[in-house]
Subunit: 140 residues, 4 copies
Amino acid sequence: MYITETNIRIHYALTDQMGFVYYGNYAQFYEIGRTEAIRKLGYTYKDIEAMGIIMPVVETQCSFIRPAKYDDLITVKTFLQTLPKEHSITFNTEIFNEANKLLNKGTTTLFFLEAHTMKKINMPKALEEKLIRFFERALN
Amino acid sequence: MYITETNIRIHYALTDQMGFVYYGNYAQFYEIGRTEAIRKLGYTYKDIEAMGIIMPVVETQCSFIRPAKYDDLITVKTFLQTLPKEHSITFNTEIFNEANKLLNKGTTTLFFLEAHTMKKINMPKALEEKLIRFFERALN
Amino acid sequence: MYITETNIRIHYALTDQMGFVYYGNYAQFYEIGRTEAIRKLGYTYKDIEAMGIIMPVVETQCSFIRPAKYDDLITVKTFLQTLPKEHSITFNTEIFNEANKLLNKGTTTLFFLEAHTMKKINMPKALEEKLIRFFERALN
Amino acid sequence: MYITETNIRIHYALTDQMGFVYYGNYAQFYEIGRTEAIRKLGYTYKDIEAMGIIMPVVETQCSFIRPAKYDDLITVKTFLQTLPKEHSITFNTEIFNEANKLLNKGTTTLFFLEAHTMKKINMPKALEEKLIRFFERALN
């Protein structure tokens, strides 16, 4: 398993008149978590796009347990529980507040596509090589 | 079953550099679909809040089938498949483009909460009375 | 002068915890107003991009007079006061609520750029031909 | 003069299909800059709201010089050039990329309002006391 954490401060634009973070904005937190997970491998999603690969989201699921609020410093935990196979990659996300209470959790599945044909392709070898050491024990 | 439709024109702010609508923005389309579904009952979500009730989203699931693009005029179909029981209401949403191709589908579950206590409460009677005629056959 | 109007319903995502529309979201209303102004000429901004031209915003100014609120049906009035010269076009925008109270007004200046070189170019002739009849009296 | 800096990483949600940050999103960067400027005084905007004061934006002006792009780590410089008088406060903002090129600059004016009456009030004394030392030379 590969786990990373990143922090996000909730600014005013993300709130709604209920006084909470608007439910549609959690997708951005999930995205930031995934991006930082890739960056911590010594790689960036920008590099992936520069290789002519895009990664559209094909499926999301999201449970809202407690509301995030203005000025909260949330912790986004991003988990890759299995080494991606073929063209599909699934991230799990959990979001905590400063009191370490679970606010939100969900999963996101993305595909690797060749940008100019929009055809499914396998995960780039360069990314797989960065990831494989986190899953070696599971392979034995 | 209660079904309504509403149209949304995709403006530039909703796109991302992939050239598609950013995945997190579909939550807004689902919201607009739900709001217009309630309005077509002769009622508004604003009325519900004025009664001291809020309806936070507690669960969403969303499948991205084809991308929506800039300037698309999408049709958001919002379905209430069962009459809500107690404090929970679940909407199904399907989004189509002008060629009537399915772009996206998902479900959203919201709770009815008393705003000042944040306690779960039953759906307001006034809303139930508007909805019940769409489900009477199913009850017989 | 060329004037058009379009209506926008304020959805929840646009509000913030002050109970008003977040100040940064007016830029979207201005954009929608400009887009519909172009569409009413029998032309779309999408057509302009298909010609290899992009129109980035280079300058905005915005005065917030009264707050827009959730579920308001606002009217966006978009004015082109002078026929654009060379590579620059300036729109004036005024936003009204249902009681016809002025909520917001501002100006936005965009450039016409050739997308693949990012060089300034003149307004496309096809667009100028659509616009010129609104300014002919001023030219005499 | 009071000057602070904060950094923001551009995530995908902020981009548009031009491949740049959508022009409406700079208002969020300005907001984050202002919030962090207040926090560095040992105070938060959340504290101000807890005192029953809100600070709506009444005027903005923004010049777009170079586009911010996906994954850029931008620096937001926030300047308070004069000690606020009465109910009004004006921030200047400049945004730089990692190569220290100026991307964007602008000003934002906000009012101090009593939240429950929406009446203009003077800047809270507690905030003024934090700020005054940055302007003392100017007062002599």
